[in-house]
């Protein structure tokens, strides 16, 4: 397996860690979600182009489309949180604890 895949995989892991371990802002977890999507896009493109899976040439673009829809949904939820609380701190999302 070429070394470039290790690099992109590491980028994914760093974004995943950034999603799971965040301090105060909801926006940073949404950004890390986009970072994960970007690293997956690059990994898929490199795989499809290097191995000549010609029929799968559309797959990275389809991934991009659905991830963009998801990002829009995440942003709209962020806007609603921000409308209610004024900021996007995640400490505000504490209404539903046991």
């Amino acid at each position: 397996m070429p070394v470039v895949y290790v690099n992109i995989f590491l980028a994914f892991i760093v974004s995943l860690m950034g999603l799971l371990i965040y301090r105060s802002h909801l926006m940073s977890s949404l950004l890390c979600l986009e970072g994960m999507m970007l690293s997956l896009f690059v990994m898929l493109t490199v795989t499809v182009l290097n191995n000549h899976f010609t029929l799968a040439n559309m797959a990275p673009i389809i991934l991009l489309v659905f991830a963009a829809c998801e990002a829009a949904l995440g942003l709209s939820l962020l806007v609603m949180v921000s409308n209610t609380y004024g900021t996007d701190y995640v400490q505000n999302l504490n209404l539903l604890q046991c």
Binding site: L20, M36, A56, I62, L63, G74, L77, L96
Partner: protein, 347 residues
Amino acid sequence: MKPPILIIVTSTIVLGTMIVLFSSHWLMIWIGFEMNMLAIIPILMKKFNPRAMEASTKYFLTQATASMLLMLGIIINLLYSGHWTISMIPNPVASTVITIALAMKLGLSPFHFWVPEVTQGVSLSSGMILLTWQKIAPLSVLYQISPSINPNLLVTMAATSVLVGGWGGLNQTQLRKILAYSSIAHMGWMAAIMVYNPTLMILNLAIYIMMTLGTFMLFMYNLSTTTLSLSHTWNKSPLIASLILALMLSLGGLPPLSGFIPKWMIIQELTKNDMIVMPTFMAITALLNLYFYMRLMYATALTMFPSANNMKMKWQFESTKKMILLPPLIVASTMLLPLTPMLSIMD
């Protein structure tokens, strides 16, 4: 929500799950999951209040992470096997990543933290869709890749799920959280048998969906979301109180009712495969589940909870809630045990 929007959103949810169910291309499965997640957020926010918003945000974050992990597993599988079909996953790393992603979507422990909070924040009907329909798609994918899942991982997740589902529900009085922990425990039972006989997982899913739909509809009849409001059912609609009794016992898995069928079959299948400790452990932790069902039942149907004196003389109004298919669901959730020998047609 206006009817045209509700129709579009509901049909997208159904379409998303259907795409997952009948695809053999991994990318289509991922697309089906994305459509499902995108369309269920408006359903979760039907009643607009801060709790619903917080529940939707938490649901979105966990499901989006799970989708990204699923895509990572798909790409690693593509890299090592060269095909996109959902048959066997030869690479153990890809198989582990995909299993973890699907466990996050299902709410298996140790990824169960979102289930009680999200179920609590949404309305009863949205919670019903969340706990029943949303489980179909991930479980169908797990069914199809079950020969190549790491058994140790799955059995560990199942064992911790039944523990968490049993212990977590003990301190709850909110009905939606109780049903959320019940869902975690049932997912644990389904995950335990997936390695040996995936057909029994489908049986468990079918019976669990019927019981949970019936339970939610009985709760929606009185619009009750806490144990206290459920304990007033004996006065308003005594028939519902006795049906809650039957359904709670069935959820707990007691013998003459049909909730016992999946537990019996799963324990039988596990012991046939020489696992003794696991089914014993699961059967014992099912007692924890049974305890909080019985406490609900005790408060609702077996005793009169302390209430003001004028509660005993309330007018019994007709409820106008639409409960679709409730009588067949109740019958199917409590009286199917004699039909168990019919399972031999699935061999």
